[in-house]
Protein backbone atom coordinates (compact mmCIF):
# COMPACT_ATOMS: atom_id res chain seq x y z
CA UNK A 1 0.00 0.00 0.00
CA UNK A 2 1.35 3.43 -0.88
CA UNK A 3 1.22 5.72 2.14
CA UNK A 4 1.46 9.47 1.61
CA UNK A 5 1.20 12.25 4.14
CA UNK A 6 -0.92 15.24 3.14
CA UNK A 7 -1.97 18.42 4.89
CA UNK A 8 -5.34 20.08 4.74
CA UNK A 9 -6.10 21.31 1.19
CA UNK A 10 -3.42 19.12 -0.35
CA UNK A 11 -4.46 16.45 -2.86
CA UNK A 12 -3.54 13.14 -4.42
CA UNK A 13 -4.05 12.11 -8.06
CA UNK A 14 -4.90 8.57 -9.09
CA UNK A 15 -4.11 8.17 -12.77
CA UNK A 16 -5.18 11.10 -14.88
CA UNK A 17 -8.81 11.36 -13.92
CA UNK A 18 -9.15 10.94 -10.16
CA UNK A 19 -8.20 13.56 -7.59
CA UNK A 20 -8.60 13.14 -3.85
CA UNK A 21 -8.34 16.31 -1.78
CA UNK A 22 -8.02 16.62 1.99
CA UNK A 23 -10.80 19.12 2.60
CA UNK A 24 -10.54 19.36 6.36
CA UNK A 25 -8.87 17.64 9.28
CA UNK A 26 -10.73 17.79 12.58
CA UNK A 27 -9.60 15.69 15.52
CA UNK A 28 -9.49 12.09 14.31
CA UNK A 29 -11.65 12.72 11.27
CA UNK A 30 -10.51 13.55 7.77
CA UNK A 31 -12.91 15.00 5.22
CA UNK A 32 -11.93 13.92 1.74
CA UNK A 33 -13.15 15.40 -1.52
CA UNK A 34 -13.16 13.02 -4.48
CA UNK A 35 -13.20 14.11 -8.08
CA UNK A 36 -13.72 11.19 -10.44
CA UNK A 37 -15.51 10.34 -13.68
CA UNK A 38 -19.03 8.90 -13.24
CA UNK A 39 -17.98 5.39 -14.20
CA UNK A 40 -15.68 5.17 -11.19
CA UNK A 41 -17.81 4.22 -8.24
CA UNK A 42 -16.81 5.43 -4.79
CA UNK A 43 -17.67 3.62 -1.57
CA UNK A 44 -16.93 3.68 2.11
CA UNK A 45 -14.84 0.57 2.38
CA UNK A 46 -16.71 -1.12 5.23
CA UNK A 47 -20.05 -0.75 3.42
CA UNK A 48 -18.54 -2.13 0.23
CA UNK A 49 -17.18 -5.12 2.12
CA UNK A 50 -20.51 -5.73 3.84
CA UNK A 51 -22.34 -5.72 0.51
CA UNK A 52 -19.76 -7.95 -1.12
CA UNK A 53 -19.92 -10.46 1.70
CA UNK A 54 -23.73 -10.54 1.51
CA UNK A 55 -23.52 -11.20 -2.22
CA UNK A 56 -21.17 -14.09 -1.74
CA UNK A 57 -23.48 -15.66 0.83
CA UNK A 58 -26.46 -15.17 -1.45
CA UNK A 59 -24.83 -16.48 -4.61
CA UNK A 60 -25.07 -20.19 -4.01
CA UNK A 61 -28.74 -20.65 -3.22
CA UNK A 62 -30.61 -23.62 -4.59
CA UNK A 63 -34.10 -24.07 -6.00
CA UNK A 64 -35.05 -25.47 -2.58
CA UNK A 65 -34.02 -22.19 -0.99
CA UNK A 66 -36.23 -20.35 -3.50
CA UNK A 67 -39.20 -22.52 -2.52
CA UNK A 68 -38.47 -21.96 1.16
CA UNK A 69 -38.38 -18.18 0.75
CA UNK A 70 -41.51 -18.27 -1.39
CA UNK A 71 -43.34 -20.06 1.41
CA UNK A 72 -42.18 -17.56 4.00
CA UNK A 73 -43.44 -14.67 1.90
CA UNK A 74 -47.00 -15.93 1.83
Amino acid sequence: MLVLTRKSEEAIKLGDSITITVVEIKGNQVRLGIDAPPDIRIYRNELYEKTRSENIHAAALSIEAFKKIKERLK
Binding site: T51, I56, L61, S62
Partner: protein
Protein backbone atom coordinates in the same frame (compact mmCIF):
# COMPACT_ATOMS: atom_id res chain seq x y z
CA UNK B 1 -31.17 -15.63 -29.45
CA UNK B 2 -28.56 -16.39 -26.83
CA UNK B 3 -28.15 -19.90 -25.49
CA UNK B 4 -26.34 -20.61 -22.25
CA UNK B 5 -26.00 -23.26 -19.59
CA UNK B 6 -27.26 -22.99 -16.06
CA UNK B 7 -26.77 -25.49 -13.27
CA UNK B 8 -30.26 -25.03 -11.81
CA UNK B 9 -32.37 -24.72 -14.94
CA UNK B 10 -30.45 -26.54 -17.64
CA UNK B 11 -29.85 -24.84 -20.98
CA UNK B 12 -31.69 -21.55 -21.42
CA UNK B 13 -32.35 -19.65 -24.60
CA UNK B 14 -33.33 -15.98 -24.44
CA UNK B 15 -33.62 -13.04 -26.81
CA UNK B 16 -30.56 -10.80 -26.80
CA UNK B 17 -32.80 -7.89 -25.71
CA UNK B 18 -33.55 -9.63 -22.42
CA UNK B 19 -29.93 -9.64 -21.32
CA UNK B 20 -29.09 -7.11 -18.63
CA UNK B 21 -25.55 -5.81 -18.67
CA UNK B 22 -23.84 -4.90 -15.40
CA UNK B 23 -20.66 -3.15 -16.62
CA UNK B 24 -18.92 -3.68 -13.27
CA UNK B 25 -20.65 -6.95 -12.48
CA UNK B 26 -21.90 -7.42 -8.94
CA UNK B 27 -19.71 -6.94 -5.89
CA UNK B 28 -17.62 -10.05 -5.41
CA UNK B 29 -18.25 -11.08 -9.05
CA UNK B 30 -16.80 -8.24 -11.10
CA UNK B 31 -16.10 -10.30 -14.22
CA UNK B 32 -19.61 -11.68 -14.67
CA UNK B 33 -21.56 -8.94 -16.38
CA UNK B 34 -24.48 -10.45 -18.25
CA UNK B 35 -27.60 -11.60 -16.44
CA UNK B 36 -31.13 -12.65 -17.25
CA UNK B 37 -34.09 -11.98 -14.98
CA UNK B 38 -36.45 -14.91 -14.63
CA UNK B 39 -39.84 -14.19 -13.15
CA UNK B 40 -42.81 -16.30 -12.18
CA UNK B 41 -46.57 -15.90 -12.15
CA UNK B 42 -47.15 -17.10 -8.63
CA UNK B 43 -44.50 -15.24 -6.67
CA UNK B 44 -42.76 -11.85 -6.57
CA UNK B 45 -39.45 -13.71 -6.26
CA UNK B 46 -37.23 -13.86 -9.31
CA UNK B 47 -33.95 -15.43 -10.22
CA UNK B 48 -31.17 -13.29 -11.60
CA UNK B 49 -29.18 -15.84 -13.55
CA UNK B 50 -25.70 -15.15 -14.88
CA UNK B 51 -25.25 -15.85 -18.58
CA UNK B 52 -21.53 -16.51 -18.35
CA UNK B 53 -21.40 -18.64 -15.17
CA UNK B 54 -23.82 -21.57 -14.98
CA UNK B 55 -23.65 -21.79 -11.18
CA UNK B 56 -24.13 -18.11 -10.43
CA UNK B 57 -27.66 -16.94 -9.75
CA UNK B 58 -29.26 -14.72 -7.15
CA UNK B 59 -32.76 -14.72 -5.74
CA UNK B 60 -34.10 -11.20 -6.05
CA UNK B 61 -37.32 -9.31 -5.48
CA UNK B 62 -38.61 -5.77 -5.41
CA UNK B 63 -37.87 -4.11 -2.04
CA UNK B 64 -41.54 -3.24 -1.48
CA UNK B 65 -42.34 -6.95 -1.13
CA UNK B 66 -40.46 -7.14 2.16
CA UNK B 67 -39.96 -3.51 3.09
CA UNK B 68 -42.82 -1.24 2.00
CA UNK B 69 -40.97 1.83 3.30
CA UNK B 70 -37.62 1.08 1.70
CA UNK B 71 -36.53 4.05 -0.37
CA UNK B 72 -33.25 4.56 -2.12
CA UNK B 73 -32.30 7.67 -3.98
CA UNK B 74 -30.70 7.49 -7.38
CA UNK B 75 -27.66 9.74 -7.32
CA UNK B 76 -26.68 11.70 -10.46
CA UNK B 77 -23.53 9.64 -11.08
CA UNK B 78 -25.51 6.38 -11.05
CA UNK B 79 -28.21 7.93 -13.22
CA UNK B 80 -25.53 8.77 -15.76
CA UNK B 81 -23.85 5.37 -15.35
CA UNK B 82 -27.15 3.64 -16.18
CA UNK B 83 -27.91 6.11 -19.00
CA UNK B 84 -31.31 6.65 -17.45
CA UNK B 85 -33.56 8.96 -19.47
CA UNK B 86 -37.01 8.11 -18.17
CA UNK B 87 -37.70 7.45 -14.49
CA UNK B 88 -40.27 4.82 -15.38
CA UNK B 89 -37.48 2.71 -16.89
CA UNK B 90 -35.86 2.32 -13.48
CA UNK B 91 -36.34 -0.89 -11.51
CA UNK B 92 -34.90 -1.65 -8.10
CA UNK B 93 -34.30 -5.19 -6.89
CA UNK B 94 -32.88 -6.64 -3.71
CA UNK B 95 -30.87 -9.80 -3.37
CA UNK B 96 -32.28 -12.10 -0.72
CA UNK B 97 -31.15 -15.26 0.93
CA UNK B 98 -32.29 -17.56 3.64
CA UNK B 99 -30.34 -18.50 6.74
CA UNK B 100 -32.04 -21.22 8.73
CA UNK B 101 -35.59 -19.93 8.99
CA UNK B 102 -34.71 -16.29 8.43
CA UNK B 103 -35.07 -14.47 5.13
CA UNK B 104 -32.32 -11.89 4.84
CA UNK B 105 -32.34 -9.05 2.33
CA UNK B 106 -29.26 -7.21 1.14
CA UNK B 107 -30.53 -3.73 1.96
CA UNK B 108 -27.00 -2.40 1.79
CA UNK B 109 -26.58 -3.30 -1.87
CA UNK B 110 -29.70 -2.88 -4.00
CA UNK B 111 -29.61 -3.50 -7.74
CA UNK B 112 -30.70 -0.68 -10.03
CA UNK B 113 -31.77 -1.64 -13.54
CA UNK B 114 -32.57 0.58 -16.49
CA UNK B 115 -35.11 -1.18 -18.71
CA UNK B 116 -34.40 1.34 -21.46
CA UNK B 117 -30.67 0.72 -21.78
CA UNK B 118 -30.70 -2.76 -20.19
CA UNK B 119 -27.86 -1.62 -17.97
CA UNK B 120 -27.63 -2.50 -14.31
CA UNK B 121 -25.55 -1.60 -11.30
CA UNK B 122 -25.31 -2.71 -7.71
CA UNK B 123 -25.31 0.35 -5.51
CA UNK B 124 -23.78 0.41 -2.06
CA UNK B 125 -26.05 2.58 0.09
CA UNK B 126 -23.89 5.19 1.74
CA UNK B 127 -25.04 4.59 5.31
CA UNK B 128 -25.00 1.46 7.41
CA UNK B 129 -28.28 -0.42 7.05
Amino acid sequence: MVQFETSRFGVLEVEEERIINFPDGLLGFPDIRRYVLMDYKDTPLKWLQAVDDPDLAFIVTEPAVLFPDYKVRLDPATRQYLKLEKDEDLAVLMIIRVEGEQVIANLQGPLFLNAGSMLGAQIVVDKLL
